[in-house]
Symmetry: C2
Subunit: 366 residues, 2 copies
């Protein structure tokens, strides 16, 4: 008897970063630093907290299915119209909505082979084929991806900056790539980490939405510090968003998420503190990592991919024992790499000191 | 150029109940009663609010992707194991997960023709065929549904009690129906309104999950008063839930939802107040409706389907002007019916008085 869809039987599910309470429970540790999920180490804007407190009074009511106030606020922020936005229960859900809305049974999806794993998982869950093109120097290889495009290619997912590598494709490369695509292909630019960008040639992709088949994904989970509440949004022309609006579920965005995001957008001070902390932390980590026998990939995001030249799962476990949660890159096929989120000064220092010990001990053993 | 999936072009999206702020804005009304979405008129358990306040401190962290504490609490509540549960961003999301997990391209889904509209919408969004069998006396017609089952029938959705009719199928009817099904068919029992049941022959369906291909859906949006936070859950044997767990997205349940639900389950006093208010309100509404030239369908839930014998959209609009939001049943093909949620004493009284005026005025005009 075959109850489950045949093509799902071997689906490898997403493995999440280890939560702090679980680590405390398992290892009996009091102090645990989580540098595994690229969360905001400074917490969240106090304005967002205030907005949640207020919205709590009506928590027995269904959320506004149109996210009226949040869409209006986003329109103001980006100088666009509310109908340029689709809200999601995190960007994860929007990836699902996009695949459902646009990809027919016999059409295909393209992305890189070392990128956000949900593109692959959600494509398969929806019974859609996805081809993964190898990175070049840890960066999306747009030339090679372009060569794979054919008359069945409906969607291309580009994480920019890329996760887990922290690299990016620049404005010129990206616009040339998009201009070269056939009219039936939609490019999804997943810009979850855009707030942390500290280079001048990063694309202002939202300016392209009027004339191009692109969908830009952004999130409140990273710089805005609202990962726990689940808010992502898509920006695109109404010709695309109007169908995504029909496909998404009516109450996908909870009401506290709606209230919190509006106020988070208003708090420029918190955002600027967040950026500053990230830049300072990045410089510190670059400097300290250079003193250890590891290499790292320069990053424009809030995390750094580090090649430990050791079994990454071993390094992950050793760091865990010292109360530092990072992400081992086994799932991504990078067997000697870990990804570390840039934390507060104290967190970064603890990570470096723990990593030094782990690396030194290993060298002694081997 | 065909960017959007062809079969989605004519999809009719779900129409949500009108929110209170929107009604106040549009009609310039100060006092508005919403009796449109079967929410808990008493609000939410203060214990749940406290739990949210505490969880807010970690809102910058991703939710626990395993919902460890909530699953453990649910297991205790139902005397089952944590792996009998799958959590969702409302039951809506679980309907999507169930269809994705179990229904192949060439398989079909069965349900009633006047029931929760999301079964139809989500089936179509997933490119799956759904057949809708007419109700009999406003109740699921299990006999006729049974006759439609064939070797391609993978899922049957049964809302019990049914929304929008408030009717139910009893224990004996339901177990005989389930026993009669072929081994390749899974029955989904959507029990969103189970807490309000005031009859003795309602099925205790969770007791059947070990030996039957059934999935029971329950929610925190109705009696538990947490509609704004989006929490539904599925109960089934691990042979079914293990695949649903792979298909659902890792962070689908926000962290405040997880914290609130655990505490809401602990507050028996709030739940008992909720049930008492509903029963009192129902008796009052039955009594008062009997005095007006309308008919109603007896309900075991927290809402009543009322035949106004007038154009229901007109009645809806007239009630709206008086500050009462109900649901007109046009979308369900019941052109003279409205559905009203049982509210607080004050809300019920205002509804009856407004409905009387609307009906009397209409009679005078016609």
């Amino acid at each position: 008897m075959n109850l489950v869809r045949r093509d799902l039987k071997n689906l490898a599910a997403y493995i999440a970063g280890k939560p702090i309470p679980e680590t405390q429970r398992e290892l009996g540790l009091e102090k645990v630093y989580k540098l595994a999920s690229n969360e905001n180490p400074l917490g969240v804007s106090p304005k967002a907290i205030k907005a949640i407190q207020k919205a709590l009074r009506e928590i027995n009511r269904y959320p506004d299915s149109q996210s009226f106030y949040l869409k209006r606020r986003l329109a103001q922020e980006f100088k666009l119209s509310p109908n340029n936005f689709v809200l999601g229960n995190g960007s994860d859900e929007l990836i699902d909505v996009i695949i459902k809305t646009f990809v027919e049974n016999n059409e295909t999806i393209l992305t890189a082979n070392t990128t956000f794993l949900e593109y692959r998982i959600i494509s398969k869950v929806n019974g859609r084929r996805i081809h993964e093109v190898p990175l070049k120097d840890f960066t999306y290889d747009l030339e090679k991806i372009r060569k794979r495009v054919n008359n069945k290619t409906k969607l291309i997912f580009i994480a920019n900056p890329n996760n887990p590598t922290g690299t990016y494709v620049n404005k010129k490369e990206l616009i040339n790539f998009i201009k070269s695509l056939p009219a039936h292909t939609i490019t999804v630019l997943d810009e979850a980490y855009d707030t942390f960008i500290d280079v001048n040639d990063f694309p202002k992709s939202v300016e392209w939405i009027r004339n191009k088949n692109i969908i830009v994904l952004k999130t409140f989970s990273k710089a805005f510090g609202l990962a726990g509440l689940r808010i992502g949004f898509a920006v695109a022309k109404p010709e695309l968003t109007q169908y995504m609006e029909k496909v998404r579920q009516p109450f996908n965005l909870n009401s506290l998420a709606q209230a919190a995001s509006v106020s988070a957008l208003d708090d420029r001070i918190f955002l600027s503190k967040t950026k500053k902390n990230n830049l300072t932390g990045k410089k510190y980590l670059y400097r300290e990592l250079a003193k250890i026998p590891v290499t790292y990939i320069p990053s424009v995001a809030n995390f750094i991919l580090v090649d430990t030249r050791l079994d990454c799962f071993l390094v992950f476990k050793q760091l865990l024992k010292k109360g530092i949660i990072v992400r081992d890159m086994k799932q991504y096929g990078l067997d000697t790499f870990i990804r570390v989120t840039i934390g507060t000064g104290e967190e970064n220092k603890s990570f470096i000191s723990a990593l030094k010990e782990v690396i030194m001990n290993q060298k002694r053993i081997n």
